[in-house]
């Protein structure tokens, strides 16, 4: 198998295997397998594990049951993102955080420093990336594929829930989460078993037409699903309210890092907002291209590219909040030419729930 490799946050990662379009189609119609072993893991243990996790994240950790996961934000005091993460509750005194590869080196010190300066949490923060590898099995046939390798009743795992079980007789955390807009699983296990489990999943999915997928398809899939990518829709000077992620902010849960700035922003209102767009003229509005409203520069494309499923050129952009409504004509500067587009609601793609 020949993968085209790219440097991604210091990791040599597969950009594509058979081709982005083919891999993308496999995930929408059957199943795809992603090597996301570069993702980081942080574990928080101790009697105050829940309180500390709540203090450093935006979502309400207290609402989680053991075996449940939630999407959340790690913020700076000014409410910009340190990272966007998944918080898994293993037990009352144990939380498992899945974080972005390129941010793990700052996430861990951020959480450790928050604990030290607050000086009231009995908890340990562990940088655990070396102990886990992560694979994502995504698509309508993901369940049937993975089920062949585990006795765990996968259909009983609800969306954003997980169990600790086995895959290919290897201890693994099996979560029904993903970054593609399809049903699927993300599994975590000890890195020495990576090759074996990777190969077993490819064998198990062969009858469904499984494709190994690279970062290229991962990006087109998440873009269609309207999901944020750190460094694009969100970064250190973008807040959850601006990024359309108000639903992961629970201001009523008590004190957390970034809360004061978010309360202020909620009172005053945001000045810019994320919105989707579709190109209406020929051209592809790509990451960082400038967006014009009524002939004046007004914002920028956070992510843009072709949508293989919709066969349109789509993207997400930031616009002044008072003008960031769907149905507005905008222009995107593509190589010194203003090319017509129209704003549309997010997401672009939603799977039909059977």
């Amino acid at each position: 198998m020949r993968a085209k490799m790219v440097d991604f946050g210091g990791w040599d990662m597969p950009l594509q295997y058979s081709g982005i379009l083919e891999e993308h189609a496999a995930v929408r119609s059957a199943v795809g397998l992603f090597d996301v072993s570069h993702m980081g893991e942080i574990e928080i243990h101790g009697s105050d594990a829940a309180a500390l996790t709540d203090y450093v994240t935006t979502n309400a950790v207290g609402k989680l049951q053991p075996g449940q996961a939630q999407y959340s934000g790690l913020l700076y005091e000014h409410a910009g993102f340190v990272d966007d993460i998944l918080v898994h509750k293993i037990a009352d005194d144990h939380y498992f955080l899945c974080v972005n590869a390129s941010n793990q080196e700052k996430d861990y010190p951020h959480i450790a420093a928050a604990k030290r300066f607050a000086n009231r949490f009995t908890a340990t923060v562990d940088f655990a990336s070396d102990r886990y590898t992560q694979l994502a099995i995504q698509g309508p046939r993901a369940l049937a594929t993975l089920q062949k390798l585990t006795p765990a009743p996968l259909s009983a795992i609800r969306y954003y829930h997980f169990i600790d079980g086995v895959v290919s007789a290897i201890t693994a955390r099996i979560a029904r989460t993903g970054y593609t807009g399809e049903d699927g699983f993300e599994i975590y296990f000890a890195p020495e078993h990576s090759e074996r489990i990777w190969n077993d999943i490819l064998d198990a999915g062969q009858e469904f037409g499984i494709q190994p997928c690279g970062l290229g398809a991962r990006n087109t899939l998440r873009l269609e699903a309207g999901m944020a990518l750190y460094g694009h829709e969100i970064h250190s000077t973008i807040t959850p309210f601006e990024a359309g992620l108000g639903w992961i902010v629970k201001l009523d849960k008590g004190e957390f890092i970034g809360r004061a700035a978010l309360v202020r922003q909620k009172e005053q209102g945001v000045t810019r907002k994320l919105i989707g767009f579709e190109m209406t003229a020929r051209g592809i509005g790509r990451d960082d291209y400038e967006v014009f409203l009524d002939g004046a520069p007004a914002g920028w494309v956070s992510s843009g590219g072709p949508s293989p499923t919709l066969k349109k050129n789509i993207g997400m952009c930031y616009l002044p909040a008072d003008r960031a409504q769907a149905g507005r004509r905008i222009e995107i500067a593509i190589r010194n030419q203003a090319v017509d587009a129209v704003t549309v609601p997010l997401p672009f793609y939603k799977r039909a729930i059977p």
Binding site: G19, G216, N219, R282, G283, I284
Partner: protein
Amino acid sequence: MYPEDLHYTKQHEWVRLSDHAGVVGITDYAQQELGDIVYVDLPRVGTRVEQGKMMGSVESVKAVSDIYSPLSGEVIEINDALATAPEKLNESPHGDGWLVKIRLSAPDEIQGLLSAADYAKYVAEEESGH
């Protein structure tokens, strides 16, 4: 792999000569490097192009890549089929996936282009340098 009758550039374009015109495309190596091509931006018929200067672009799912004119002249025909079927660049880079036809203004420029063998050698060096 690289047809003998074509002339090549280090920017991975090719030219096929006929009389005082040249048909231009991108090489098989270029299309492989780009991956699935989804959009092609070509100059209009009548545009004057200059050797080594940008004349258009091709876009894959992931990236935008400039196309440089291998020779100087005037664009007399463009491959309209690419507007609706850009995948022809992946399927047949040295054939149906041609980009433009140029009426040459300085045919001697062809002397500076690479033969199939030299281009193949150049690509091999590029690849080993990766």
